[in-house]
Subunit: 348 residues, 2 copies
Amino acid sequence: MKQSALILANGLFDSVFAKTTHGLIRGPSRYEIIGVIDPTYAGKDTGVVLDGHHRGIPFFSTVSEALAHVEPTHCVIGIATVGGILPDALKMDLLAAASAGLTLVNGLHQLLSQDQSITEKATGGIIDLRKPLPASELHFWTGEIFSVPAPRIAILGMDCAIGKRTTAMLLQTEFKNQNMHAEVIYTGQTGWLQGLKYGFIFDSTLNDFVSGELEHAIVSCYRETSPDVILLEGQSALRNPSGPAGSELICSAQSRGVILQHAPARTHYEDFEHLDGCTLPSLTDEIKLIRLLGSDVWGISLFTQGLTKPQSTEIVEQLQVDHQIPVVRPLEDGVKGIVDEIVKRLRL
Amino acid sequence: MKQSALILANGLFDSVFAKTTHGLIRGPSRYEIIGVIDPTYAGKDTGVVLDGHHRGIPFFSTVSEALAHVEPTHCVIGIATVGGILPDALKMDLLAAASAGLTLVNGLHQLLSQDQSITEKATGGIIDLRKPLPASELHFWTGEIFSVPAPRIAILGMDCAIGKRTTAMLLQTEFKNQNMHAEVIYTGQTGWLQGLKYGFIFDSTLNDFVSGELEHAIVSCYRETSPDVILLEGQSALRNPSGPAGSELICSAQSRGVILQHAPARTHYEDFEHLDGCTLPSLTDEIKLIRLLGSDVWGISLFTQGLTKPQSTEIVEQLQVDHQIPVVRPLEDGVKGIVDEIVKRLRL
């Protein structure tokens, strides 16, 4: 039987901080989602608030209100917080869920298993997704990646919180619609929460083992599932000063192609709008950089926040002319154009 | 009083695996080095074997032989091992040192403090340099770097084990010779062993905090010492598939310029000579990549292993013509040419 979960969104549902919650509502999800705690929208349907599509998953004001209506087995923290720290309000919700015997699932850097006030109440257990593994349980890169025949496609982005994971999941579904088998390698806690089997939590891994864990996930995935293509969820951005990432996906995973998430209306790296030095680079420059790193951009996927529909339509058309590759708005139009391009280039 | 140390080189003195030992013999060193254990060269002088310069630091066959002649306070593991694992022979040496009351200093991923057979003998204590810090003790990147007036220069390399740290230390000395104050930010355990105060161990840091720890080290260094220039020790190489690194030094530390270590005779990434996919990229391409990342190469420093003196002389001349920047053989000729260039570009 599928386990079921309440998600804590802590008043942040309508922000990028709740991207984990959004992903779990869109699905897929490791747990059946049966409610989201966010007093701002209590009484409404989460899907309707997210994107206008009713999904039968209600908002509740508090954990105790939810528990009067539904019987979850798990309680998932569905938001990111500044510094990965647990805010007090969220802790109250967690204590209520713990007291009701729910298993707590936490993707923050701050570990619940190290907070005695929580552990003593959490009879249902705690899953700390970002608990670092010791070096003895991690893999070094060996070069075995060169013997994996399934091509890798990296989903990179111009920034954090720009839709990389969502596009990866949509690509997987579209491959399935076309009778092909794509696997997604997760690199963040949300991917694991969405039920993905192969991957690792990029940002809570000791740096020396990032490339090895990535390679190990890909090798394991190929051995056990023999997919036609392996999609790699990117993190951050190649030049994001708060933590550049992505070259591992190109160099260590030997990605054949890159799908690049782009947010035309965004001017600065997420959370650093106040810093002149944190303006986003140009798309053209980013494509050059990806080529120098050893891969190439095969498609562009737009994060359309801040754009009207006519604006994004114009941008799609212009970028297709400029770069001669498919450009899609994944949530609005789907990702068929990009899958078709990947299939053509890989001769799948 | 300066503490003194024996170094364990475990039969590997004459290899890049012993680069920590080489650095400590060349100096500076946090501890006074009074002997190196390596039976291959027992009875000889370490400096003479290293580079022909007598330094009065003898080789010994075993720890017990050494302890009959010298009285160290510390015993330092001076080699890197495959996978960061402790070989049995090395463990025997460590047990002998522990039994004599010496403090054990370990830069391997495998932690001595987790090996009961060692801890129960180590009455002098254990320093595990690569013991990971928990997230709660680490820093996120904040952008405070933009308020540090001292310019940063990154010492990057085309590969691992190519002389980046050595060049950084030589640059610091040459700045001092010219009456300027340069600080080196260490990113590996050897830098710490050489007595550097500011830095962190790059590869045993949780990935999400690498950029923040780098920024924090630079900010602390500037606040406390106000140097004219801050030199950043690079790790690995920008496209090394076993663990690409370096974009943090450019993007997160906002380096003005890069000094690039180059090994003309090397064809493949260190330890991956058996893999066709692991050939080194061209120097010209690497310079383009560094420019796209937001900095520029101001000087090239050669690792001359595998080259005759006439060969390296010819390469120095050719590279200077090709790239119009200073090219030096740091160990043979010093690094004055590069310091002069940095001074000119920064108008120090």
